[in-house]
Symmetry: none
Subunit: 199 residues, 4 copies
DNA sequence: TATGAATGAGGCTTCATTCAT
DNA sequence: TATGAATGAAGCCTCATTCAT
């Protein structure tokens, strides 16, 4: 990697960091490309050398941030080194993510307003930011053949968690997040049970 | 109601109808007030006699449309005149709404991108468009004391249904809606069961 | 004067009072005819039954208010019943007006931003709001033949007073009004002296 | 100064010149930014690269033009190379400015409707357009200690001249400017005399 | 690569004025 | 007389994008 490449990477990161800062502070549509460029210390034209448009940088940002989040969660899980049953692993990960998003609500807003299942799936499969850890593989390895439709199951859980937690964290409605968690985790257990192939 | 009021009502409806048409076709942010006015056949200034701004007309539109949807569903349910158990009533309503939104995908897009739990709750309680039918009351009457936290339960179901169906109907992902329904309804049944107070 | 005429007069006064309130609070150009009508409790169209446009009401207002101001000043002067020499009468009137405008700065702003010599002259000659007292006549009577060009003299004094007092009252620049007064009155005396025909 | 800077300066001047033309022809409030841009041959957005808004360009214009006027006047005075007493220097400058504004009445209108003492003072002290010549310094140097309150004196003279000449030049009221001048200059002499510290 | 001046379409909103009732 | 809904011109300003340097 030459000097130039390093410089390029720095510039790109500066743009991404600035965009994250502004997106979470003021909202995506309230943030202009001018602002991002200016705060990042590059010329407006330079932005277009790295990203196609605002949508482009937004998607890359979200994929990157959520990918990091799950990586961390799985890492924590493995550090525990307990041999949790699958359902409890899933809940551990969920719990970790919820706590992180409760701490960092602007990230929560950015992600939940912009993260659809499509983006999420490619995030999970590490299409954009490959790393050693991969939630998809992880789940398949853990569940093997005991789950009939693992993707559908995951889909339901992810959507349930993400949409309900948004309200619970941001508005404490219908319950504050800590009071809501037990109901949520019970439901996750029920969903997993429904998908388990009887043996 | 005088002649003038009738005319005003007509103009307002014309604006609402046009806005719905354009919002569902091109998206809310891609629709300008100029366009709405023009297509509705009124002057741009006239728009501001009826609505404060784009957000205002959007919210009124969503509240109106979703309120209508649930009214219809409950009406159909009562027309059946079968004495379904509570869970099955809920699934009947869900099924009706899903079918309607599958037929009218642009309405689905408008609603699911803009309907949060807050707006939904006030829609359900008929705050904006009061009518004879009220889903909230309906549920309370049906469940009486057999559900521990009816609001939390409803919250989970509504959010699960709305967020997963969006993907399933629009992208057929992870399954087309008809194949997804059985899993969804099973999960609804599990959730209700979890909330039932044991006797 | 019939009932209707009384009602008309009331409505007109209400419009004038409201306009004065809004003009002095927010400035003439920041005040719309809508606002005036609304606050006055009449319909927008009604405004046009009484005034041609905003300029019209503004001019009538200023003429009325400044005419009142001078009437009061002359009345106070006559109440004193001292036989002041002409110059001191002029200074008495000036002093009275300055004090009133210091108390009521919004009136000062309205008048000084909008009162030119032309409007002032017609105000003085009671063209718009005739009354028993007339500054013009009063001055002529007092000065008789001792002043060579009474109108030029008055013109200079009025313009000097009005333009300098604005700054002095509003910005205390270059001096606060009370400290500025002695210089001003000295200058008035000098001007009068310059115009006196030697005998 | 690079090529770009030259081009920018040209564009800025083009905008200023056009604005001056339009402001003096149609008045400030009757001139829109669209018009200025269009006549200057630049896009509307370009205007905003150079000026914040209409007020901004107006103030810069007035400061620039009046600063030029006084510079010229002082230069002419010094070219004469006569050692005039202070009062006569002041009258010379006044006379020069009056003549220029009589020739260029649209400039007179622009300046007198928009130039308050505040703007004038900063113009005089060359805050905005510094040059070798500074009226303030000039006056101090000339008067030294013979004037008790030079700023108050200047204030009175400037306000008297500017407000009365406007009427005299534009409306020939109460006298045409040439006939009015003697009275004005006499009054200036009286004012200066009043401020002279007796010795 | 990097710049940043220039563009100009397009959005939002206000408001004087009219006119049918 | 009095109303106030309707008009639509007109203003202001932003911003994604291009392109000559």
């Amino acid at each position: 990697m030459g000097k130039l490449d390093v410089k390029k990477q720095l510039k790109m990161n500066s743009l991404l960091d600035t965009a994250f800062e502004l997106f979470t502070t003021n909202g995506v549509s309230q943030t202009s490309i001018s602002e991002i460029s200016e705060h990042a210390g590059v010329a407006k034209g330079t932005f277009y050398l790295y990203f196609k448009d605002k949508l482009d940088i937004r998607d890359k940002l979200i994929a990157y941030k959520s990918s990091k989040l799950f990586e961390e969660a799985i890492q924590k899980l493995e550090e525990k080194n307990e041999d949790l049953p699958f359902t409890e692993s899933l809940i551990f990960i969920t719990d970790y993510v919820i706590d992180k998003l409760t701490e960092n609500q602007s990230l929560l807003i950015l992600i939940s307003k912009n993260l659809g299942w499509g983006v999420f799936k490619s995030t999970l499969s590490n299409e954009l930011y490959p790393s050693d850890i991969n939630l998809y593989e992880y789940i398949h390895r853990k569940t093997q053949d005991r789950i009939s439709q693992p993707e559908v199951m995951l889909f339901m859980i992810v959507e349930l968690v993400s949409s309900t937690c948004y309200n619970s964290i941001i508005h404490s409605e219908p319950l504050p997040i800590e009071q809501y968690k037990p109901y949520l985790y019970d439901t996750i257990r029920s969903i997993v049970r429904d998908f388990e192939t009887g043996e």
